[in-house]
Symmetry: C2
């Protein structure tokens, strides 16, 4: 049997993850039981939620147990199957974890993917990343034609797509926030946002006030903290805020404060958190429309592929230091 490298959670990280937070074990893959399928992991999706799951408190899924393989979504190919619906060679997606081989059982959440699309695309624009942008902007933020829109994390995997969807669906103005001049340039020049505020060097609140004299109708939030607060201070009446994530909070023991929630009363605003797994019924609509937009060249996206399972921890940290554009994927094996 082949050897399975597995990255286990050894302790709860404090801030960014370090090598000492993990234990790497190598063990032979066990012979396949009746009713199971063995999947060779090809690539891992690197998502802020991986870090959330490492914390002690349960979230929308239970915390990863100490000693267990780190939970992560990914894609693999079936190398042996004794499980109905899974044939050798099938491309499969699900919570495979940080390991080389994933044993799928009848209880696993695992879905066979259509053949013919690159693994990186299936993990980004046609995966949870693109679908989150779609459902967050259209269903949660209830984008309407003419809305003035802000997207934080605009150079990230989700934010970059969310802003482009707003534009396609008739937003009057789309402004992003990002953390470097290069990211801001990419967001405006390549993705077609109207403006992008560098939150590290500019006063976000003042810039929003200038850019939105009539207030912000829709805010797609990936970061929380001071950026959320600056948006709350500049809401239009009836504003809708979709909380997709709060990356400013996930590596801190106490999140950054927000002061302007009373403005939600004055402006009759709505703020709603969402988890994409609650919206599985909308996945087919999302993928179908995204495929069309990509084919027409109306949506651009960027995927950075990092080679090697062993680089999953350092790659995860880059989500929190901001050292990336677009979607980060770890390649575990050649497809």
């Amino acid at each position: 049997m082949p050897t399975n490298r597995r990255i286990l959670l050894a302790r709860r990280p404090d801030g960014l993850v370090t090598d000492a937070d993990f234990e790497v074990v190598e063990e032979p893959v066990a012979p396949l039981a009746e009713g199971d399928a063995l999947v060779r992991v090809l690539a891992l999706s690197v998502d802020p939620t991986n870090r959330v799951w490492m914390r002690e408190q349960d979230s929308y899924l239970p915390a990863i147990e100490l000693g267990a393989v780190v939970r992560a979504a990914g894609i693999g190919t079936v190398v042996e199957s004794k499980l109905d619906g899974f044939a050798t060679g099938d491309l499969v997606t699900g919570l495979c974890g940080w390991q080389d081989y994933w044993t799928v059982t009848a209880d696993s959440t695992a879905n066979v993917l259509p053949a013919g699309l690159p693994v990186e695309d299936l993990l980004s624009i046609y995966g949870v990343t693109g679908i989150t942008a779609y459902i967050g902007m259209l269903d949660v933020c209830e984008l309407r034609e003419g809305d003035a829109v802000v997207v934080s994390g605009a150079a990230g995997g989700v934010g970059s797509v969310a802003g482009q969807i707003a534009r396609i669906k008739g937003a009057s103005r789309v402004v992003g926030t990002a953390g470097t001049p290069e990211k801001c340039k990419w967001v405006v020049d390549e993705l077609g946002f109207d403006a992008c505020i560098n939150y590290r060097s500019e006063a976000v609140g003042e810039r929003l006030e200038e850019l939105f004299p009539d207030g912000i109708d829709v805010y797609f939030d990936n970061v929380g903290g001071p950026t959320l607060d600056a948006v709350l201070a500049n809401l239009a009446i009836g504003a809708r805020i979709g909380l997709c994530g709060a990356i400013s909070a996930y590596t801190r023991s106490t999140p950054l404060p927000v002061y302007n929630t009373p403005n939600l009363v004055m402006q009759r605003g709505r703020m709603r958190g969402f988890i994409i797994l609650d919206h599985l019924d909308r996945f087919p609509d999302a993928v179908m429309e995204l495929v069309g937009w990509v084919a027409e060249g109306r949506i651009k996206y960027r995927v950075e592929v990092v080679d090697g399972l062993e680089r999953a921890p350092e790659t995860l940290n880059r989500l929190f230091t901001g050292e990336h554009d677009g979607k980060l994927v770890v390649r575990v094996a050649e497809s």
Copy 2:
């Protein structure tokens, strides 16, 4: 003509209001113009929003201009009318302001009230106070049978009614917060809440954790700040927060911080601010159902009447120091 005492806003208050923030003028009532009606003000509703309107920034209504009469809702009786739909002796409600006489024009928002109900009730349980509790709990918080509910400002005019409505509509548990042992006792013993947390002497977060092991489904918020934050830390999945007001913020230049908004993501929570004037179409339903509940003895309420227009400022302050139970009304003249 009679003399009209008018309390004008002389400057923007800082914190609680003081005499120096106002100028009291006495002037004869001008002869009535064609198309106007003259109303003798009988009683004023004392509401947190009065203080909001005194601030420099516009809110859902423009800020009160310096030198203008202080904006406030109230009830009066028509003493002379040259305006269609208003007859001498009619009871009228609207934004009459802190003055003895109110000149209603065709443009005024003024409504004739049914005869036969006490003025105090029309300004509390059957007025904006009771209607806000009703619409906030049922339409904004979307209360469902079996929900576990928290109401802040539970001894206040709105909060005391909101909690009782939740109970009537099948909440599994209703817990209030208030600022003195006497208020908490009233809320539990007289109003029938399951518990009431004294936010001045108890750790609100810990108490909520004990009282809601499965989390909070609905929070009717009148205060904002640390109480809102403690609720955010204890949400059930799919929780709904109705932001009716943020009394902790209105006398401060910077509101108190809230840290736990990221929990709205994890718990897929919704937070929505509302202003009762957006819901005028629901007023008749609300009043009809409230009248029935009061008649059946299922809703109790308390109104404290303070005598004298000149006491409006000091009475307003009591909303922010917490020195009152239930609804505060200033009586301007005998009805």
